[in-house]
């Protein structure tokens, strides 16, 4: 069987291995802890995927951005937003009647 070749053959991506992962999680958790602590402050800085954060957390954000791969940062930010949104929905129990569009679209 032919050995399969990859253009990445020579390089091992160490930033996805155990130590790098643990460092990333630590930086990530520090940032989100800061968000929780400063939840009452105005979120003015832009993170990613629509997440905003208060300027008080800039340092932790920078470390997190530096330590983790960008695709991972976006993934974790998105996860955080989804979690927050779910919690908000449950607390406020904003469940109203379902609304239908005023007109039914014509079929072709």
């Amino acid at each position: 069987m032919e050995a399969y070749l990859s253009k990445y053959e020579d390089k091992i991506q160490k930033d996805v291995l155990l130590n790098a992962r643990l460092n990333c999680y630590k930086a990530r958790d520090a940032f989100f802890a800061c968000l929780e602590k400063n939840g009452n402050k105005k979120a003015t800085e832009v993170a990613s995927v629509g997440l905003l954060y208060p300027v008080e957390c800039k340092k932790t954000r920078e470390l997190y951005d530096k330590t983790c791969r960008r695709t991972w940062v976006k993934h974790f930010d998105r996860q955080y937003c989804a979690k927050k949104k779910r919690l908000l929905d449950d607390n406020e129990a904003r469940r109203g009647p379902i609304t239908l569009p005023a007109t039914i679209p014509k079929s072709t």
């Binding site: 069987m1 399969y4 091992i12 996805v16 291995l17 992962r21 990333c24 960008r70």
Partner: protein, 198 residues
């Protein structure tokens, strides 16, 4: 079947009466058509097929090394379960990781990755077409996502497949199972299997 005829939507229904009335004989448990042959490369660069796994129980997880959190969690769980099952019931299970990102998951990459989870964890990768075939056989969904320059994530099904010593599918375990549920579940499946065969 839904078709447009003369510009009007018409729905054709299958005529149940014309379908086969013969009772189909099959295995009593009704095995799902999951699994099948594959041609991959292990983390030592050795070509392997499904035949190399026959004779032992196998627990397979599809994932990718560049996975932020889910794959590491699942593989840690898998590793812990393998040890727990051995300790509790004495069953030897071969843990297998199959990459759904063969472009980045080279043999070396997979080797460095799997060795951190369990000494017995076997990592498989290979030609992207072969990976596609294997994923299709196991009904594993996977797709590149979150593309950022040359980086990307892979969205994929999060399932562990328990295969019997004939490399036939027995049961799958979803993400919601913790180590204990996974271990107990596997021990029970194997005990039932042995009982049925006896």
């Amino acid at each position: 079947m839904i078709r447009k005829r003369n510009g009007i939507l018409k729905v054709d229904y299958y005529d149940i009466n014309t379908s086969s009335t013969a009772v189909k004989q099959g295995p009593s448990a009704g095995k799902a058509a999951i699994g099948g042959p594959f041609n991959l490369v292990d983390h030592n660069g050795k070509p392997v097929t499904e035949n190399d796994f026959k004779g032992k129980w196998t627990l397979i997880y599809f994932g990718f090394t560049h996975c932020p959190d889910i794959c590491p969690d699942e593989l840690q769980k898998l590793a812990a379960a393998i040890d727990k099952i051995k300790a509790k019931a004495g069953f030897e299970i071969v843990p297998v990781f199959i990459s759904v990102d063969p472009e980045r998951d080279t043999v070396e990459q997979v080797r460095e990755y799997v060795k951190e989870f369990h000494p017995k964890l076997i990592g498989l990768t290979g030609d992207p077409d072969e990976v596609k075939k294997a994923a299709r056989a196991y009904r594993v969904y996977y797709m590149k996502t979150e593309e950022e320059g040359s980086d990307y994530l892979v969205d994929h099904s999060i399932i562990m497949y328990l295969m019997d010593p004939n490399m036939e599918f027995l049961k799958f375990f979803g993400k919601n199972n913790d180590v204990d549920a996974l271990s107990e579940g596997i021990i029970n499946e194997i005990k039932q299997y042995k009982k049925a065969k006896a």
